[in-house]
Symmetry: C2
Subunit: 246 residues, 2 copies
């Protein structure tokens, strides 16, 4: 497969964008710089808040800024675009309608990977925007899978964790997070999806890889494959086998 120039529509938020770039770099088989993927990244931090718009708390529509940046990536020669942010996929259809460049869909790739691994009931840990938009549920419906979400009180814990702690580079109460996760497990979820790239950063603090599945890692693996490179070392999760391309 010919090597592709990757476009990353980022800044949603900035830290998880660069964490995703590091994931791509750490998990691409490479002996020297030039074995890595050529990429162009727009980290447009000033994009209006996605969750606030989805929940109707703000009328600043982020789609125009996202479209402008997507076109910037196209003009800069991107052959493929990825968006390392689950919430922003609310605007996926609006983006694909206006862009000629293919855009990988983190939600579809994640659900597809889980379905292929035999999972039939997932729990979703994500922003209120992603949860209420029903983006995961709709794709799960297509696959005949269950998608469970936290109750309102539990969701408030997750939302606060994302917006008041992680996005502000502050320390995190991991126990509060794990209590929400445990409640979803008690309702029969086989796997819990880290469906927000800010939550992916929690893995650095140690989460059980047998339970938690990181949508950002799945997107990274699919991106590396799509760019004609070989993905390596995707953890010990049963979903991944090192160096094996599906």
């Amino acid at each position: 497969m010919e090597a592709k120039r990757l476009g990353i529509l980022g800044g949603l938020g900035p830290m998880s964008t660069f964490y995703f770039c590091e994931l791509l770099t750490a998990h691409t088989r490479a002996e020297k710089d030039c074995d890595h993927i050529d990429m162009i990244i727009s980290s447009c931090a000033s994009t209006p808040d996605r969750t606030a718009f989805i929940l109707g708390e703000s009328d600043a529509d982020p789609l125009p800024a996202m479209l402008r940046e997507a076109h910037r990536l196209e003009s800069a020669g991107a052959d493929l675009i990825v968006i390392p942010c689950n919430t922003a996929h609310y605007f996926y259809d609006g983006l694909t309608r206006e862009c000629r460049t293919p855009i990988l869909n983190i939600i579809r790739e994640t659900v597809d990977e889980l379905y292929t691994a035999g999972v039939r009931r997932i729990g979703l840990l994500a922003t209120a925007g992603t949860v209420r938009s029903g983006a995961y549920r709709r794709v799960c419906d297509e696959y005949g899978m269950d998608c469970l979400i936290p109750d309102e009180e539990q969701q408030a814990v997750i939302t606060s964790l994302i917006y008041d702690r992680i996005k502000q580079n502050k320390s995190v109460d991991l126990q509060a997070f794990l209590r929400v996760a445990e409640a979803l497990r008690d309702r029969g979820c086989e796997k819990l999806v880290l469906g927000c790239t800010e939550l992916s950063l929690l893995k650095k603090q140690g989460l059980d890889e047998r339970v938690f599945v990181d949508s950002l890692e799945i997107l990274a693996k699919k991106t590396i494959l799509s760019c004609g490179k070989e993905p390596i070392g995707f953890g010990s999760s049963s979903l991944f086998r090192e160096g094996v391309q599906r």
Copy 2:
């Protein structure tokens, strides 16, 4: 100061590019995503090897690729360009001649910061390309400062560390590195400059901040200031005072 759109000429190598982006993000005063710097990053990993060209081991000139990417950043609206790679600054004059956008110079910023802090003799830890090009020595000469470099055998240790270990995501023999550093200290160097962004990654393993000065951190601080944002939390090094703008 008006917020600026930053262009990052990266991929030289990729991992240190994203580490630099993380540095910028972690050290910008921000309460929400949109407080961060808007940036566009070209991580062109396929750029021909800089050190090999500088040392005459390869005739693949990286300047044309670097110029093409710099122009890509300009077309994408960059108001200011930075290059998070010391070695690539061998091509700095060639780039500034052809670009209309100002480019911060990591070497000049580092030497200037050290001079202002009262340092008069530095030791340089960098690629053979940076060392032999004399880029640091020339700027130090302008400031009336001494710039000492490792002997040939010691330089081979540093070169191997950068190319055979860090760039390949392999574990590092920190003791071998520290022996080279100690030899420079014995020759009277007040501060040792991590003059290669791959070496900046070693800080994660714990280096004495009273001795080692990271050129990448200095570039990050200057970049944040130049983009009209407030830098925060630049370590306990005597060179930095948190939140104080010079």
